[in-house]
Symmetry: C2
Subunit: 191 residues, 2 copies
């Protein structure tokens, strides 16, 4: 990821926030990034689609990198899961860009969080988190658990519940110990 590529992705993000996906043009982004159109096409051959895809991947990577750092040094499965969902929920709620997009283009944005985008999100979550969970569960269960958490976090973010607030540590802990951990029958200690 060269500095120029980063500038382009940043420009893409802020142009989207200002005008919405439907109204941005490649020229807008190139101008915002202070880069020529030729350079942009050279970096992201395929135009808007590829560019937006790259942006989504990049944001997911950033997100999970932050998450990884945040759960560093956790030595208990419950604690790991609680921190994960609280962090993820908090970050989602604090993401201004996401909020703007949800407000101005709910269709596309929701699609990227559900039908279209969820598989990718789960893949990325698996990639970043399965390793953290595997000290406590075998690989197959670890991946299922990570997938389940990803689905739950997104669902509760998109449609908050009266009963559960995954942004709140106590609530998240209660939810996880009641509805998540038991079904994965974790051994009492890491193996």
């Amino acid at each position: 990821m060269t500095p120029t590529e980063l500038r382009v992705l940043d420009a893409t993000k802020s142009c989207c926030a200002r005008w919405g996906i439907a109204k941005v043009t490649i020229d807008d982004i190139a101008a915002e990034a202070g880069v020529s159109r030729a350079t942009l096409y050279r970096m992201f051959p395929g135009g808007k689609d590829v560019l937006f895809d790259a942006l989504r991947v990049h944001e997911l990577e950033e997100f999970f990198t932050g998450l990884s750092a945040h759960i560093e040094g956790t030595h208990e499965l419950e604690e790991l899961l609680v921190r994960t969902v609280v962090y993820a929920t908090t970050e989602l709620r604090a993401d201004e860009h996401l909020a703007v997009m949800l407000a101005s283009e709910p269709g596309d944005t929701l699609s990227n969080l559900t039908v279209q985008g969820l598989p990718r999100i789960i893949r990325m979550a698996s990639l970043f988190l399965s390793g953290k969970v595997e000290p406590y569960l075998d690989r197959a269960h670890a991946q299922r658990l990570v997938e389940l958490l990803a689905r739950l976090v997104i669902s509760y973010f998109l449609a908050p519940s009266e009963h559960v607030d995954l942004g709140d540590e106590a609530s998240a802990r209660a939810f996880i110990t009641t509805h998540v951990l038991p079904t994965f029958a974790p051994p009492a200690v890491p193996y």
Copy 2:
């Protein structure tokens, strides 16, 4: 001003706020207003330019109507001027639409407040306010005073001063009694 015309102007305003003047299309506005393109062209023949012009005129009218109501029943020139500049400054600062436009398209927006638009603003101010000032000054002086106030309010709005805050009554009063009223040598009582 029919209800449909009002809907169209409202739609124009909110589309502008969302996408900026450069990105809105006639179709966007028609869709937002729930009106067909044909209707829109019938009401505002000339397209975008005419439409935006009509919007500006309409907003100015609303503004000065509010201002007129706000200074109703004032029986002293100083009081009249103070209320006027404070109200005008407050409204300008509170105008979200204006703030968005200033942020996203400073060029066009500034032009509408200065080189392009100021003459119109002064004309409207004259139309609405000269009558209010004429009990205290002859017509020629009344118009000059209104023009001066309009210029000052806009200037201090666009580029706030450390020394004067026309949104603050005390500061506005001090400014007016010191720098405005004396040069118009008003008679002590209405004539």
